[in-house]
Amino acid sequence: MKEIERPSRNNLEGIGGWLNPSRYGWERISYWFQRLTGVFLLIYFIGHVYETSTIVNGQNAWDSFLELTQTVWGHLFLIMVIGASTFHSANGIRLIFTHAGIGLGTPGRPDYPYNPTSLNYRQKSGIWIALILAAAAMFYGFNVLFGV
């Protein structure tokens, strides 16, 4: 078969397509969030491994690093991390089931208005549950960190 040696990249949506979640419904929004939280959490994780490594330099080093992180901004950042990790985990579990073909319905004979069975209430409620769990975890984290 004729192969295309150098596929054209003109008119590709590019990263703009990844970053704009607004046009196609909740599943696209959850894709956007999953990517965003994933990258954010990896950056946090690298910083956290570095941050916790200060323990090997003794109590003074540890305490001075705590002064940096145990601030209002540090707590707010940690609340974002709590929300991101809860959403990423819950949505990730939903995605694992989806990638395994579970919760999508079965193929059939489509008829007008041709609503796709895969974008069903199970997927949308899974996304909403992930968002609500993330909000609840952030709320709980806020209570713990700010001692309310």
Partner: protein
């Protein structure tokens, strides 16, 4: 005018490169590390909540945690699982962004070495702190 000209991609559309692991095997690892990480990270967070939060961050309390072999194993598990899952995720994102043999090889090398580097650095912290 050549509509098919491309500035970045010089390779044939089907790049059949030899790989150590098939993509399906890598993705199974990605899913398994993700699910396992949820459990161990939940344990890690609970450790910060069994005592008042401020106390859980005190130097002596943390060192005592590092002396507990079970906790040390949990931390090492988190380190390995999250590093593998996270850097594989970055590998996927970077592979989708650009396609050429040099770029893909670079992505593979950088993500695997970052994975190993982070695991090594974190393991060093655990071992040294355990000895303190």
């Amino acid at each position: 005018m050549d509509l098919m000209s491309c500035l970045e991609c010089n390779e044939s559309i089907k790049m059949t490169s030899r790989t150590i692991l098939k993509e399906s095997q890598i993705m199974k690892i990605h899913y398994i590390t993700g699910i396992a990480a949820v459990f161990v990270v939940a344990l890690h967070i609970m450790m910060r909540l069994v005592v008042p939060f401020e106390q859980s961050l005190e130097y002596n309390y943390i060192i005592a945690n590092y002396k507990n072999i079970v906790y040390v194993l949990i931390l090492e598990a988190i380190l390995v699982l999250i590093s593998v899952h996270g850097f594989n995720g970055i590998r996927i994102i970077l592979l989708e962004l650009r396609q050429s043999r040099p770029w893909e090889n670079m992505v593979t090398v950088v993500t695997i070495s970052s994975m190993i580097g982070l695991i090594a650095y974190g393991t060093r912290t655990i071992i040294v702190a355990n000895g303190l």
